[in-house]
Structure formats: C-alpha cells, structure tokens
Symmetry: C2
Amino acid sequence: RVDSARLWNSLMEIAEIGATPAGGCNRQALTDEDREGRDLFVRWCRDIGCEIRVDRMGNIFARRPGADNSSPAVITGSHLDTQPTGGKFDGVYGVLAGLEVLRTLEDNGIRTKAPLELVVWTNEEGARFSPAMVGSGVWAGEFSLEYGHSRADKSGITIGEELERIGYLGTEPVLPRAIKASFEAHIEQGPILEKQEQVIGVVTGVQGIRWYDVIFHGMPCHAGPTPMEDRRDPVQALSMLCERLYREVRAYSEDARITCGDLRAAPGSRNTVPEEVVLALDLRHPIPEGLNHLHGSLYRLAEQVQEETGTRVEVREEWYSPPVAFDENCIDAVSRAVQTLGYSNRRMVSGAGHDSVYVSRVAPVSMIFVPCEGGLSHNEAESAEPGHLEAGCNVLLHAMLKAAEL
Amino acid sequence: RVDSARLWNSLMEIAEIGATPAGGCNRQALTDEDREGRDLFVRWCRDIGCEIRVDRMGNIFARRPGADNSSPAVITGSHLDTQPTGGKFDGVYGVLAGLEVLRTLEDNGIRTKAPLELVVWTNEEGARFSPAMVGSGVWAGEFSLEYGHSRADKSGITIGEELERIGYLGTEPVLPRAIKASFEAHIEQGPILEKQEQVIGVVTGVQGIRWYDVIFHGMPCHAGPTPMEDRRDPVQALSMLCERLYREVRAYSEDARITCGDLRAAPGSRNTVPEEVVLALDLRHPIPEGLNHLHGSLYRLAEQVQEETGTRVEVREEWYSPPVAFDENCIDAVSRAVQTLGYSNRRMVSGAGHDSVYVSRVAPVSMIFVPCEGGLSHNEAESAEPGHLEAGCNVLLHAMLKAAEL
Ligand SMILES: NC(=O)NCCC(=O)O
Ligand SMILES: NC(=O)NCCC(=O)O
C-alpha cells in the first residue's frame, strides 16, 4: 500500500509552482513554471535511483530497472502542464501517483521482473499549443516531429523554440520502445463517480474529439454610417451559427458535447465591424457515428449561415482524436486490482482526452479514475479527496505489479 | 479657393506615419505614431506663424490672430488618431482642410476680423481608449479631467500616462474660450453622397450612440466530461443574445445600427468553457426614442437569456452620446457657401460621432461632408477623390471667412 500523506504532500508541493491567487495552477506547457515542475520531478525521480531520459519532444522518461531488463517495460505517467486557470490535480496526479508507486517499491525493497517507466508527456492540455496530447502523439507516430516542433501559441512561439529555451529539447528519438502494459491514473474531471458514490472508475476507453477553428470573414466598416444591409458582420454570422449549433448538438443526444473555449475578433475596435472573428471549437461524442453527425451539423450550418449572411464562414479542422477502446487485459488488470483492494467502482468511458489515447496505439493500455469534487476540472477550484487519490494510487500499484511480475 | 494639390500632398505625407501594408493607417491615439503626426502638424502650423497651445487633455490649438483679437475665435479641426486598421482620411482630412484654409489665407495675405483656431482633438476614435471624442468631451465639460486621464486601453495603460510619455500633456486648462462659430470638414464615412452623386453634405446633426460592455459570466469547466446541463456557458448565452438582438434591431427600423466590434474570452482555452466573455457593443439611432427602444431591447433580451441559460448577463453602460442638432446659423453658413461655390449638395445627419458633437455644447457648430469611395471607412481601403476633398475645403474656407468677417 502506498503512503497517502507522502502522495498528498508531493501534490501540494508541486502545486506551489504556478499557484494562482484563486487556489489553482497556471503551469502552461513549456513556460518557466512548467520547467520548474519538470526540474522538481526529475530531482524526485533521481532521489529514488531512477535513470532519466528526455526525448526530442521533451517527454521525460524515468526508468526503474527490473530484474530482467531485456523485458518490455511497464509504464505509467501523465502530464505536468495545466490549463491557464487549471487545478492542482489534472495530470499531475497521474505523474505523482506513478512516483508514489516507485517510492513505495523502493521503501519496501521490491524489484519487479520487468523494468518500470514513469513518463511526463509534453503539452497534454492543448491549452497553450494545439492540439492536446501532442507529446504522446508524436511519440506514438500520430504526428511527425516537425509537426510537433512547429505548433505555435497565440503569440507565434513554437514548441520547438520553447523546448530549447527551457532546456527540455532532449536528444532521445521520439519513439516507443517495447512496452508490456501502460496504466494512467487521473481524476475523472466529470461528476459520475461522485454522484454514484464510487471510488474508482475502471476506464474502458475515451470518447472522440474534434477540434476546429471556425473563421468568420467580415468586411471592416464604420459602426455608424454603414447601412446594415451593406455589411458583412462576422459577429452576426458567429451568433447565428453558434445559436443553431448549440441547439442541434444538445438536441442530438445527451452524450454530445460542444464547447467554444476561445473567441477572438480583429481588429477588435468597438466602432468597427470586425474583419475576422476566430472561434476555437471542440466537439465530442463517445461513438464515431455520433461525432460524424456533429461534424456534419457544423459544416451544414456553416454553409447555411454563409448563404444567409453573405459572410464567408471557413471551417478549419485542427485535430481529430477518434473514440478509443482500451485493452481488455489491461482493463481486467485494473478491475482485479480494484476487487482485491475492495473499492467500490464502475466501468466508464473517459470524457476527456488523455496521453493514454496515443499510448494505446503502440501498447496495451487502460486508465484508473478517481472522483473529483463536483465533477469540476479545468477550473482553479478543482479538488479531490486524499482518500480517493490514495485509492487510485493503490490500484495503480497493484495493476503495475501484476503486469510487471515480481 | 484652396490649393487642391497642397491639401492632397499633405494628406499623403502624414499618411506615411503609421502606414499599413494594406494601404491604410494605424496611428492609434497617443502611440508613437500619433506623436509623430502631432509633431508634423505643429511644425506645419508654426511654419505659417500660428501660435500653439496644448491643454491638459493633449488637445492642440493652433491660433491665427485676427484684426480684433478680443473677438471670440472661429474654430475648425478634427482628429489625427485612427482606428487600428484605419484609412488615410477619417479625421486627418478635417485637420488638414483647416490647415489648408489657414495656408490659403496666409498666401493671399488675408487677415480676418476674428481670430481663427485650428484644433486637433485627442482620442476621437475611441478605438484605443473608450469612449470616443474624449478630448473634446472633457474640453466641453461632458467629462471631468480625471475621467479623461484615467481611461485605459486593453493593457491597462491610461490616457494620462500616455500623454505624459509622448510629451503632449499640456499645461493649458481644458476649457473652451469664447467661440463665434465652429466648422468641421469630414469624409461622410457612409454611402449616401456617393450614391446620390452629391459633392457636399450639409450636416444638420449627429445620430445618437450608446456603448456597452456586455459581460457573460460563465463557469469554467472541462469541454469533455462536463454534461451540457451542468454548464454555464457564456458563449452559448452570447450567441443567443446576439442572434436575437441583431434580429430585433434590424426589424425595428432601417435607421437602427448594431455593431459588435470586439469579443474577448477568458481564459481563452479551447477545451475549457470560458469564465467570462466580454462583448463591446455599439447601438445607434438618429432619434432619442429610437435609441431608447434599442436600449430597452438590449436589457430585455439580456434578462431573457440570463433566465433561459442560468448564465449571468451583465450590461455595463460605457458611453451615451445623445442625438445632436447643429446650429441653424452655422448650417446656413455652410449652405450658403455651397451655393456660392455651386456644388451639388444635400442636407444630412451624420451616422458617425465627431468632435463637433461636444463642441456644439459650448458653441454654434456645423459640419461639411464629402463623399468617400463606396461609403467605406474604418477600413484600410478608405478612399476619397481629390476634387471632393478640395470642394469640402473650399466650403470650409468660405464658411469660416463669413463667420470671422474680413
Ligand atoms: N485530461 C485533460 O484535461 N486533457 C485535455 C485534453 C482534452 O481536452 O480532453
Ligand atoms: N468619425 C469617426 O469615425 N468617429 C468615431 C466615433 C464613432 O464611432 O462614431
């Protein structure tokens, strides 16, 4: 069994890096804060004798050798980056739960047969750099390294530049080695476990996600003398599209999700009709047909609004992460660990994307969810109970031990 | 008669300051470019013997003494600041038309009885600092000097700080001296003169303008796992409000105007429901009842959307500039000048706000409009014909001479 207090204290210590006045964390990918978090992680791993490798996407691998180092590794991990107004648990819990597993093995002098690896993936959130999970995505072969390095934030700074600047542009090739199994612990980020009073979510897969930039091309003109019928107003087009799309998505199925996380107008002057409005759109559904349907609605409505308003509505596809089913053996390993430990639990599909999505392309994977307060995440008030975090970590320990063998 | 080529050349020379690649101007209020434009203006005025005063709002007064300097002055002027993606004529034409009048008098050795003053007003556009016409507004007593100095741009820098920084925080009190009459030449910024093939617009007044910040208070949460019914999504509320408000405003009357010039989402991350969206809204109507009606629609719809979505919709009133009727004698002076000169013309109400709105609170005022290409303004492609600019300037010359007497 893991040391609950040590896990909690490490979570609280790293949460000081990028701590926000409202009690959350702003440790966005590849900022100085992210570097500080990475440095602390590396120090903690070296303290228990792990060997550190950093690849050219800045993914960090901390390896604990096994009895048989020719065996494929059992891996775990998650991410240290946060949303701009993020919480203290999203991602970092999965990393420090993995660390707590290694510390517990070290304390008890346990050597597994297979080596263990604890991974920190670069830019999982997709908040500073789109898309999400880009570090694990390049590693798993979904994206090229050039694509990964060239992704830019809103001010045009790229991942490649920032990796170099913060000293995490490693030398290792961005490629998976042979992997026996992978497990990732995470807060649920939704309300199901809490509402149903279950301690552990046995995660069977992840819903599909599609990201778009929707660009409304207006014609700048004066707010006063220009007759309404002479205008091409991108905000009117935006409001018509969004009003209809929200209605259609919500009417389609209660599993469907639509989020408009960012809106930017240029030039952004109150008495000038904008030249351009850019909407950052996120659509999700657990099954491929469902997500296709939402995708179709977007294109149909964009065309409709373009015709009705004469304002060009351009839909740029930014990212597609199809629904994923995890490995049955890994799901079983988690299920059995939960049963051994006696925690209440349910099987569930993840609403959020995770690095495990891309890891699952090259290795057998599953995930372990624990409840978070009010189902709230991507919010500075994100919170979780120490007892639940401990439970998830114990499940991770047992599942990893089972997979790595003694 | 004025020198058309000199007027045009001066317009083209000053347009190089802040010139944009697309052929427009970005010389926003109190930037380094604005300072450069002001410096050039001051130099040109000194070259013809004018005496320069700068008040504590950075308004610049260039005075050409008359035969009777105890007489109230006849004034003209406009602004040198532009929109972020502005044109080469909005504002600067009114300033340089005034300069061309003074140059013409100088060339011809004409001394008026009343002194003449040519004014550059600070931050007319309202693009960098809200509200518009704030320099003339403080001068006319509509706003306090503290209010004027404290207005901040999007990055929090104030007018007071920028006046100091660019060296235009003058020492003169911000107060009108006695004024005989005021005239302002300007491009129409709308399509009426061009469509009706008229050279001069005799401006009888200015429509009413109301500015608002509409703030949609959301609850940040994760784009994936959070059920739609648990969300307070400010973009959904925004799109519902705007969709309805555009419809109502356009249905109300063809004179009504609605513009949403800026939109900002915080924290602005694609996979997080925003905590807050701020909409910069501009409503206009030529008569008070009409503008009141639009104002009422906004409040009613904001409440409606708030009730339907559970998302708080806060309407903050930013500025109100009621409809204004200009002085009958000044309008007549312009009319007679147009007739003398034989230009085609029509009476019209301005769709844009102008410094003359505030000047009219303390002095008899009217304005002279000339056509602009396609009615386009607040656009880098803004354009006007040299012949029209010359005509407007000739009308200004005659109206000022009439008011100032020989
Ligand atoms: N876990 C998490 O918040 N991942 C970000 C990617 C997503 O938007 O689902
Ligand atoms: N003339 C002009 O563009 N003024 C800006 C104020 C307004 O928005 O009408």
